[in-house]
Symmetry: C2
DNA sequence: CGAGGCCATGTCAGCGTTGTCATGGCAGGT
DNA sequence: ACCTGCCATGACAACGCTGACATGGCCTCG
């Protein structure tokens, strides 16, 4: 079993890569070969009807022979620096959630004939302005951003220049921008209400990190639902971390080993759910569990979750971007996507009586 | 619980979006304000040392005041249509595997100062040339592609123009291109050998689809290892589908319900593993299982897998792209990344004796 | 039969930037 | 004082394309 990547030099049947022999054909080359002016070739490629079918065919034949492909860069420049790309900037490369968002954005943009320029900040807040700036200098038509930096005021100038800015999953700070978010608060409240309906009062909340917008919203939903059920102070059952070295398992362990352990647990996100699952596996006590974010094996494992559609989150953002590109005016918009409590068993374990 | 996305018009504290008031500042605007020529401003932004520190500062101050950002599109055009973007085209939006690949590519490209233009074909082979063409017309410096179309000969012209083309996960058909793939064949053979070492002879192979390059390689590895163990004809235990409507579960069911059921199963990919898991859950018989592709809960569930690193697959492709951009020459390269058999229990169930 | 109009096509300039070459000022050597 | 050479800066063109406007042939109609 090989341990290191193996590299083969493919036998030299075919020539190796080399410096290009010919250079890229331009409109003028095609025009010369077809015996027309560059402008007429241009007309063919911009779909103008004012070209004789016969001429058009001669031009297309010449273009094919020269392997001509219109130079989008030049076209964009000529047309006032308007490109057909939209930038997407995200932080955490490793979270599958964001990939689904990215896929949704790309899907919608493709419908509008736009392509997506994608860059990530590698989760370093300081690099957000740098990365965003690099994309903006490519004159993208819109910017879709999952904010990570402390604030987005550095984008104010660009906004005034008319570039639509849409944030996803979290609202921007110190910047006027359209936003698409999940119904974090009500989603979590639904989960907790479902537990209280089953008699639970001592409900743990596990989250690390917990200082992000989404998670503090979910925490708020949790507290609110507990309040409604008559539990005024939930802090003994909250395990909020902001240190990546604290594992969700250890948070759950600390909860269950406390003097007054909870009978149910809700988790702030996918990662916390995984941790809770791992820890609960090692225990006998039947503890109810509802996770935030759905996951592939949840159904098989019978785990109840607050589900939502990350791809739709991206699609909504993509649509918003396209609409803004069309009509710049109008009020700021905030779209909140619903969540759905999926009951699969783990969340329906009743509270022990007595 | 809301059922439909809710949309809020944010209260009008801040102004609404509107047509841009001012237009984007150019080199000339900055030059005028700083009292120099455009060329001098250009020199500042292209890092030329031939500018007096005092002049430089005056220019930077002016640029800041005008919120100037160099126009990459124009710069690229001027410099012979060389952009600083690399295209990545993939098919299946829904497979997390490819997102990890994408992340790896993006990571490496960022190191070289390139950004990634990402598009997907939505898994329609016919749209591959269209999507690729759209990206190429943006004059990307290299193309990284997960091939889906029947052949890639349509890229021959572009290759001759000197655009590096790198395929990932699968080799190109009818095109000379660098390639990064997994050690599919040996990886699967390792898995099967581990099973035969535990006494298994009747080993099922489940895969849908099965006609793709990666899966036929894995099938070949499976057959080879069985051959070595003295099983000449494995076809009774192969369940190969190419119809998306056939679920992996049903393939596993058909295997286990056959007159001579296997004592172990290997799966062709992640999706098949999930299906096998679901089906095996419903059964009593202890059937050994080794999956191809690792997954998040595999460790918790004790599932043995042939693991590999999709992010590294992307990184290798990204590095290859950067190297080709630097030096066009040299032989075609094929990089094969190793897999690793991770034993977690499910694959180590011994064959029933007798 | 000439005026007017329509249509296919052409000419030219310029999008914002930078490579090439030019200019003019100043320091140092003789 | 004069020449040489260096350095900071500038003038100009061009990257490939398309919008605005021009041209010239042909058809129609009074």
């Amino acid at each position: 079993m090989p341990r290191a990547p193996s590299e083969t030099h493919v036998p030299d049947l075919t020539p190796t890569w080399r410096i290009p022999i010919q250079s890229r054909a331009t409109l003028h080359d095609v025009a010369r070969l077809a015996g027309v002016s560059a402008k007429t070739v241009s007309r063919v490629y911009s779909g103008s009807p004012r070209v004789l079918p016969e001429t058009r065919e001669r031009i297309l034949a010449a273009a094919k022979r020269l392997r001509f492909r219109p130079n989008t860069v030049a076209r964009n420049l000529r047309q006032g620096g308007k490109t057909d790309t939209v930038a997407f900037v995200m932080g955490d490369i490793h979270n599958p959630f964001y990939f689904h968002v990215a896929a949704g954005i790309e899907q919608e943009l493709a419908k509008g004939g736009f392509t997506m320029l994608w860059a990530s900040t590698g989760d370093a807040p300081d690099s957000e302005p740098v990365v965003v700036d690099a994309l903006l200098s490519q004159l993208v038509r819109a910017l879709v951003l999952i904010p990570i930096a402390g604030d987005q005021s550095y984008l104010e100038g660009e906004r005034q220049l008319g570039t639509p800015i849409i944030t996803v999953d979290r609202p921007a700070t110190d910047l006027v921008a359209d936003t698409v978010v999940l119904a974090n608060r009500s989603g979590m409240a639904d989960a907790v209400r479902s537990l209280t309906a089953n008699g639970h009062r001592k409900i743990g909340f596990v989250s690390n990190p917990s200082e992000m917008y989404t998670l503090s919203e979910r925490l708020a939903g949790y507290r609110q639902a507990l309040m409604e059920a008559g539990v005024a102070d939930s802090t003994p059952w909250e395990r909020l971390g902001n240190d990546p070295s604290i594992t969700p398992e250890s948070q759950v362990r600390s909860l269950l080993d406390s003097s007054d352990p909870p009978t149910a647990i809700v988790t702030g996100n996918n990662r916390a759910t995984m941790g809770a699952l791992r820890e609960l596996r090692t225990r006998e006590d039947p503890v109810a569990l509802i996770g935030f974010d759905d996951f592939e094996l949840a159904e098989m494992l019978g785990i109840s979750v607050v589900a939502h559609d990350p791809v739709e989150l991206g699609r909504a953002a993509g649509r918003l971007a396209l609409e803004r590109i069309e009509h710049h005016g109008g009020p700021i918009r905030r779209i909140e996507l619903p969540t759905r409590l999926v009951k699969r068993g783990s969340g329906e374990i009743p509270a022990p009586t007595g």
